[in-house]
Homo-oligomer: 109 residues x 4
């Protein structure tokens, strides 16, 4: 069984045992991703990157992934496919010769 | 090659061609996850869930995954492992008999 | 006319001329605050604080304030009152003798 | 004393008693605004707008305002001025005849 399949199976089993699919419309799932991303961010607040607590980072990053996978599942998206597609688009927005070594946004390159 | 491996290889190749690792400290990667999650969320603003544009959702969700994978890579975390571990923790915070069919936070159950 | 009154009058005139109150339920207003806060945050992404563009900060911070005022108006909250009330609560959560000179969260003090 | 002045005085007194200005660089203040906006948003997660807890909304909205005022103070921005300026800009991006009664983003009008 693939890694992705194991993750989806575990997430959906957890959700279904609690009868939570009724709450998981795509808008609220997107809220949840954003809220979890913010809890991850809070681990770095007022701190240098290296002072954040790695155990807490694992938990909060796992929450971000969990809701992101649940949203992908909702639309039956293939995570590998959408990420590789987006990298192709970004390669056009950020051509190597312009973007190399600088962190400007594509519309400022 | 596993799906995860293909994703990481593509993301890291894209990053290294542009010499961007210098910017990708964990704090700024967490900012990036949060910013992309917010761009995803914006696709639902003032709308019902079903009126959001699915093509744009693919792009923004891909961005969330991309930075989440890059942060996982930074700490050498195994995504499957952290997600399954978090599900185990959540199973304790949200016991089926209390959580079934309601969307309350664990500290309000 | 007070500063607050001038702000509310301008925001509500702008909203009503466009017949936008129909979209401004508290949930979507909170989404909007979060999205604007993220656009503000993006001005600091991959950068040191001092390298952010002050003109853009003005615009994005103004957007955060605008939706925050519109949400306060929705519930007829007095901004001064809720801020002063919250400071009183925070004074208990963060007693000077424990919190002085450190940035820990109240549950870690 | 103006409402704004009272708010700033209370916030800065609270901050200075705890010797927290050292942590309040603009980047971390923007993180804080975003994190508080997300805590506000969480009050609406999986819910209809009208089911959110108004007492908690007061607290979280107060936190958003507090950090937004502290960031404004950091740059010595006049909140009324930046909000009115942004409304003027938005009036151009969202002309009444195009924007009336619809919630599209300016680049889709």
């Amino acid at each position: 069984m693939s890694d992705f399949k194991q993750i989806y199976d575990a997430l959906i089993k957890f959700r279904n045992e609690r009868d939570w699919e009724q709450f998981h419309n795509p808008k609220d799932l997107s809220l949840a991703i954003s809220i979890e991303a913010s809890e991850l961010l809070e681990l770095f607040l007022w701190k240098k990157a290296e002072d954040a607590n790695i155990e807490k980072i694992k938990d909060e990053l796992a929450d971000v992934f969990s809701f992101a996978f649940l949203l992908a599942d909702k639309y039956k998206l293939d995570v590998k496919e959408i990420v590789l597609d987006k990298i192709s688009k970004n390669a056009i927005k950020y051509p190597v010769e312009k973007a190399k070594g600088n962190a400007k946004k594509y519309n400022e390159l």
